[in-house]
Symmetry: C2
Subunit: 316 residues, 2 copies
């Protein structure tokens, strides 16, 4: 085996972080979530095990979660204050730090694939709104009618948040967070990251969160780390959290474990809640979060595991 193919591949995914309490979701819903997390891992892992790129693997894994009604991305995304759905997504290749993103799209079936098309087919990194959709249409990416993205669960969540706002109480964490993402290291040692989201329930129309912002919710650099975040996006943006993790490794000289602890501390010190997944250039992994739970999973040689609650482990 050549040196270029000697790295141990690994795939991490998340499906959102928040106040996920045992028994909050029905047994059926929890089973459905775990099943779709596992399917995302299996499909992404199939790419890596066949020698495919980290970039292909994270796109595949995220597409599965976009297509699932269980997660706040693609089909099943959160609703804005006007009851509409606006998607954000980004993808980044650690090899050359090529990046693509879309924001505020309403008709693109798989925003993560639109982000990849922006990266590969345009001179740009980020297309928003009508321009992004016009581009997707021209490139023949699958579109979907608005109703395709809606689920009764997200409408109920919007109604809960809006009712809480009228009562001047705070919405539950459950209704505020949720984003999907994947990071991977391929056999050639290449890193990639992808993130996709509907934002959060009752966001203002036009709100762009951290997911499509390179450096905030999505970042990858083969010399350091691949990162995908989920949580209070505005804090991730102000702290430039993904790039901060990379800089703590590259410029501060920390290992991934210590860098991750400090970045989670940075987030907490700003009152931010959430978590992230990360894989570094040596194949080390981190999945920290400061919320009670985070939907998450890992696939590596001989091992696929998913977890939801904070006291669950991902070990075999």
């Amino acid at each position: 085996m050549s040196k270029a193919l000697s790295a141990a591949p690994v795939l991490l995914i998340h499906g959102g972080a928040g106040a996920i309490a045992r028994g909050e979701a029905s047994a059926e819903r929890e089973a459905a979530i775990r099943k779709d997390l596992r399917r995302s891992l299996e499909e992404g892992w199939a790419v890596l095990i066949e020698g495919g790129s980290a970039l292909d693997a994270v796109e595949r894994a995220v597409r599965v979660m976009e297509d699932s009604p269980c997660f706040n991305a693609g089909h099943g995304a959160a609703l804005t204050s006007e009851g509409t759905i606006e998607h954000d997504a980004a993808i980044m290749n650690g090899r050359d730090r090529a990046a693509g993103a879309v924001s505020g799209t309403t008709r693109i079936r798989n925003p993560v694939s639109a982000a990849r098309a922006v990266m590969e087919l345009t001179p740009h990194v980020h297309l928003t709104g009508a321009g992004a959709e016009q581009f997707a249409r021209q490139e023949g990416l699958p579109l979907a009618p608005p109703w395709y993205f809606f689920t009764p669960e997200r409408l109920a969540a919007l109604e809960r948040v809006q009712a809480a706002k009228k009562r001047r109480t705070t919405a539950t964490e459950r209704d505020r967070h949720g984003t999907v993402g994947a990071v991977a290291r391929d056999r050639a040692g290449g890193l990639a990251a992808a993130t996709s989201t509907g934002g959060y329930a009752n966001k203002m129309p036009g709100r762009v969160g951290d997911s499509p912002i390179i450096g905030a919710g999505t970042f990858a650099d083969n010399r350091t780390v691949a990162f995908s975040g989920t949580g209070h996006g505005e804090i991730f943006m102000r702290l430039v959290l993904g790039h901060r993790l990379s800089c703590r490794i590259e410029l501060e000289g920390l290992d991934l474990a210590e860098a991750s602890r400090r970045v989670l501390d940075d987030l907490g010190a700003f009152g931010g809640t959430g978590g992230f997944i990360a894989v570094d250039h040596r194949g080390e992994i981190a999945l920290p979060f400061n919320t009670p739970g985070m939907y998450r999973g890992i696939a590596r040689e001989g091992h696929i595991a998913v977890a939801i609650f904070g006291d669950e482990t991902l070990s075999t």
Copy 2:
């Protein structure tokens, strides 16, 4: 004088970087550019000298350049491939790292003030497109009809770029770059940064550049530096250049001069052209660029100066 008011205030501005050759612009146009750079400095400086905040100063300075037809922001912004104008802007307060941004707006007269309104009046950091305009309208920010933003110079630039593309030659740097920005340090030692742009001639509709991306084209942190960039935005985004400068100071322990040199090297190593302005927590300044020229200026006690070409200095 209290310690909190003991810092020496300073204001830096830029009006774009590129292949700005002597004699390329008419003497009248060059005089108009220098006059409006000076006016931007004078108005921003008036804020600082009266004890106003760095945040107020950078907003004021950028508004003057948005209102001027000489710069690629607000009135006089670059045209998209479809002949439309789409503005991006951001502002950031180093005191609490509060940040606001708008992208893809077409009717907001002063995008930098809309960015500030996003920061101060919403729970969000970034609003795009129609959502941003709906918000601006609700808040009573001045709007303008599309024709207000157009200038014959920008239409001519679009035609040059599109003709060059048909001939499969490269457009001149002059027609690709241009963005305005300001960074300031106030008497209390507070830092702030603001950036505003029309992007560049012939950009795809929906393209979001680095200016409204916190960490890429705009960044401020009182512990480190305030940064505003201009140049090849996609490279600034992939390198997260503004936050990178901050991390080279905070995490690598470099001073502003050395950190700026390395960040400009980072940009050049990726084939990126452009420059930036920066002021650090001690009041040190940097205005590096790797293009032949950058429209720029400085205001500090007893000293206002502007420059365009690479061999000009800003000293009194």
